[in-house]
Symmetry: C2
DNA sequence: CCTTGACCTTCCAGTCACCGGAAGCATTAT
DNA sequence: ATAATGCTTCCGGTGACTGGAAGGTCAAGG
């Protein structure tokens, strides 16, 4: 099938599919006219990639996952380790964002938000120590 | 003061400070020898930028915050609105990551993680419907 | 006075994971 | 025969920097 059909079948934009070929993630066959030719296995892999990317795995993670996917003899522990590492990254990111949210949220609450020029948000950003009452 | 001193004083790498000049965020004076010359106000603004970036504000947010910071007559409501929008973005990102975390976490838990080749993580990624027991 | 070394300058390229668009073939529909 | 898609490659841009090369400037030591 042509790249357009692969796009329909996998849900990945053609641009992205070509990009994945550029970086050697999924290199399809070519027809005589130079068109890319995707088979059923390729579409499966594209769908696989779409899901993995949707779960936030990096391209390099995906490369590893794909090769594990292709390896009929791999241990599930290998996959689990990768997913586990990624889970930790996600949790760390969540914790970081929650810290930001709390800091920002207390600033927003402290700011009366009217037409007066004094603003605790700018005060904090410019280094004025916060009122500790 | 030279850029090295500004780096010390603000905590921002010299590379970043030059970049901020490139994009017109903070353009310092120049000495006769071509060296950048940062004053006390510049250092304040650099510190301001470092804090705002640390809170996850984008460069364009920072540009707006800086101009509000410089405007003695601005209303605190303007700043609050910007911070509020950013707070919502952060909260949305947290919610998204929590969704990812939950999805990934249940996959990791479902995977026995031993030497056997069957693995629910890869099954899910490749589109095999999960067991619904 | 000369050299060494630290510090400064500009510019170019790379990061990550694509997206947009242009110029030019191939195929399909009318 | 022509027009409209669809495909190809290549170039450039995104955000927010970071690294490095090539070269100018400055302060200290011999």
């Amino acid at each position: 099938m042509n790249i357009g059909a692969a796009e329909q079948a996998s849900g990945l934009p053609a641009k992205t599919i070509r990009y994945y070929e550029d970086i050697g993630l999924l290199v399809p066959a070519r027809r005589d006219n130079g068109y890319r030719d995707y088979g059923q296995t390729d579409v499966h892999k594209l769908t696989f990639l779409k899901r993995a990317r949707g779960l936030g795995f990096s391209i390099e993670d995906c490369r590893a996952l794909l090769s594990l996917y292709e390896d009929r003899n791999r241990a599930s522990a290998d996959v689990r380790a990768l997913a586990h590492t990624h889970l930790h990254r996600i949790e760390a990111k969540i914790a970081e964002l929650e810290g930001l949210r709390d800091a920002l949220s207390s600033l927003v609450e402290a700011c009366h938000g009217d037409a007066r020029p004094d603003c605790p948000i700018l005060d904090d950003l410019s280094g004025v120590p916060a009122d500790s009452h």
